[in-house]
Amino acid sequence: MDWVELFISAGFWAATLRIAAPLIFGTIGELICERAGVLNLGIEGIMTMGAMAGWMWVFQGGSLWGAVLFAAMVGGMFGLLHAILTVHLGLSQHVSGIGITLLASSLSYFLFRMLLPNTTTPPKITSFQPLDIPFLSDLRFFGEAFFSHTALTYLALAIIPIAIYLLYRTPIGLATRMAGENPVALEAQGINVLMIRTGAVIVGSAMMAIGGAYITISAFDAFFFDMINGRGWICIALVIFASWKPGRALFGALLFAGLDAFQVRAQQLAGGDIPYQFFLMLPYLLSIGAMIIISKRMQYPQALLVPFRRGDRI
């Protein structure tokens, strides 16, 4: 395989979409939280929990879409906990988020071990299968690259326009953005800032959990320990890279996933001349690099990290 062939191989583009999908769920989830003014560092743990909960639902005999809903529900519950701590009690968002990550990931591992005490090789489930789209899936290159995916992958792509529509074209989206920019003005409109923020964190966390579930019930078919492996943190970097805009989040996630898919293939091409660890570092280094590039033009929500107390004056 040649370097040029790499980019025109359908497998590369298919892998890019597959890697991007969970990042899109996570990034949009985090973006919704932050747009409402709440940083959610619980993302890493919530994604782990979503991965475990979704997989376990199917393993116990539930349906695949039921698993997506179940993961979303569990994620939403951790979101509610984060919202109570940060929005209602006004605790530090950094500290509470790290606490949520500790709790959610340790609880996922504990529950997994509890429900499957004596397994050495992780059992498998029947995961989401590629959708067969008439005509499109049979196309020569495009069929394999873009129309050989699972329903959950297409859902990931669909939530971007939905998020854009909801955030920019509906009253609830306007209220969410105002909660993150100028909560006092929002309160003056008679809208409950605390409720808007709570809702945004719950919805955002539910999406993070779906992103986690994607990994165990669509991309793979088993749950491993340390499966999320920093994907949540990468989503946080992607939100910054996207300058808090959903459209750019899609671009960022695809770019990142493309580089990750490239990295795996380049490893084989390099054939051991460069130690494989350096290729594995690339995604993390690139996330840092992207943040450096974007740092000059960052437009973060003005009220991010600022707790709101009713009756406070500015």
Binding site: L41, L81, L85, H88, L89, G90, L91, H94, V95, S96, I98, G99, I100, L102, L103, S105, S106, L107, Y109, F110, R113, M114, P117, N229, G230, W233, I234, I236, A237, I240, P275, Q277, F278, L280, M281, Y284, L285, S287, I288, M291, I292, S295, K296, M298, R309, R310, G311
Partner: protein, 349 residues
């Protein structure tokens, strides 16, 4: 619901609120134990006995607490200035790398000089690991949470590369591990015939040093001022960038020293499983201690006790060791809430 500051904070509340919070965490965890079907009190009994019940158990707990004190101090110092260094894990490995490069034969000094030399080298390496994030933070305002977190992964991969390549011990029969620290650099044992080494005493010294530094020096004052209100600090003539840089070097240095206690003390050489997440647990240690450097010692011993105790509990009864992490996470969250109620009261109306 309205949350308002209390006029006077009773010292009893300050002491009893965290204790009550930890009891609540144990009660919540009891539900999980009940679900496993094992007897609750007996299980907790095994946990306590495994952590503090014998001379050996105590030595193991204090041994485990040693790196946690260092990483806990690293987080406490940084968080006090609202510099969110989540990269203690990577900085720990940088410290361990320094110990491996300098302490496996490159430099030989008498033990009285060799051990302090290793600690200084580890601290410098830990600080170096944080140089990039703090530079990006002060010049380009790049968020340090993400950079320090992601560097953990990069550094671990880098250590992995070194252990499979340049630093691999040829005598190690294929295991990716580095050569052993020379005898002059090995930390002497503190309790005869146990793994507890003088690293624990050095950790205690470090926490007293940091406590005094934060409380009685101008540096400490500036660090606290920048954390409490950066605008006011700036207005009163404190250079925020300089203070953040100082905090980062202090924090990275402390985390690097945790790498020294593990390579030169507990383990004797660098491997990839040198730290079972000491860097991340250090954050929990600092949060449980409410960022107080002396409190860090108590909460590190508490956390270490839970981890060591849970190991022996899971051998006695059928409960996964992950219960330790759940217990720690619940303690952290409930202590956070309890400390809030020390300072504020909730008024329903």
């Amino acid at each position: 619901m309205q949350i308002e500051p209390r006029e006077n904070i009773s010292p009893w509340r300050v002491i009893f609120a965290p204790i009550a919070a930890i009891i609540i965490a144990f009660i919540l965890c009891a539900f999980l134990i009940a679900w496993t079907g094992e007897p609750i009190l007996e299980s907790y009994g095994y946990l306590f006995k495994g952590a503090f019940g014998s001379r050996f158990a105590l030595s193991e707990t204090l041994n485990r607490a040693t790196p946690l004190i260092f990483t806990g101090l690293a987080a406490a110092v940084a968080f006090r200035a609202k510099f969110w260094n989540i990269g203690a894990e990577g900085q720990l490995y940088f410290g361990a790398l320094a110990a491996t490069i300098l302490g496996t034969g490159a430099i030989t000094l008498p033990p009285l000089l060799m051990i302090p030399f290793l600690f200084v080298a580890g601290a410098v390496a830990g600080g170096l690991a944080l140089l990039g994030p703090v530079f990006l933070k002060t010049t380009l305002k790049v968020d340090e949470v993400v950079t320090t977190l992601l560097l953990n992964f990069v550094i671990l991969l880098f250590v992995n590369f070194l252990l499979e390549g340049p630093l691999k011990d040829p005598m190690s029969l294929g295991w990716p591990q580095a050569a052993s620290i020379i005898d002059e650099g090995v930390l002497p044992e503190l309790m005869a015939r146990t793994r507890l080494h003088i690293g624990f005493a050095i950790a205690l010294g470090a926490s007293i040093f940091i406590w005094a530094l934060m409380r009685y020096t101008i540096w400490g004052y500036e660090i606290r001022a920048v954390g409490a209100n950066p605008n006011a600090a700036k207005f009163s003539g404190i250079s925020i960038n300089k203070t953040v840089f100082l905090v980062a070097m202090l924090s990275g240095g402390l985390a690097g020293m945790a790498g020294i206690t593990e390579t030169a003390g507990t383990k004797g050489y660098l491997t990839l499983d040198l730290s079972p997440g000491f860097g991340y647990s250090g954050i929990a240690v600092a949060m449980l201690a409410n960022l107080n450097p002396l409190g860090v010692v108590i909460s590190a011993v508490f956390l270490a006790g839970i981890y060591v105790g849970a190991d022996s509990m899971s051998r006695a009864v059928n409960i996964p060791t992950y219960i330790a992490d759940v217990l720690v996470a619940l303690s952290v969250l409930s202590v956070l809430v309890s400390l809030l109620f020390v300072q504020f009261r909730v008024r329903w109306r």
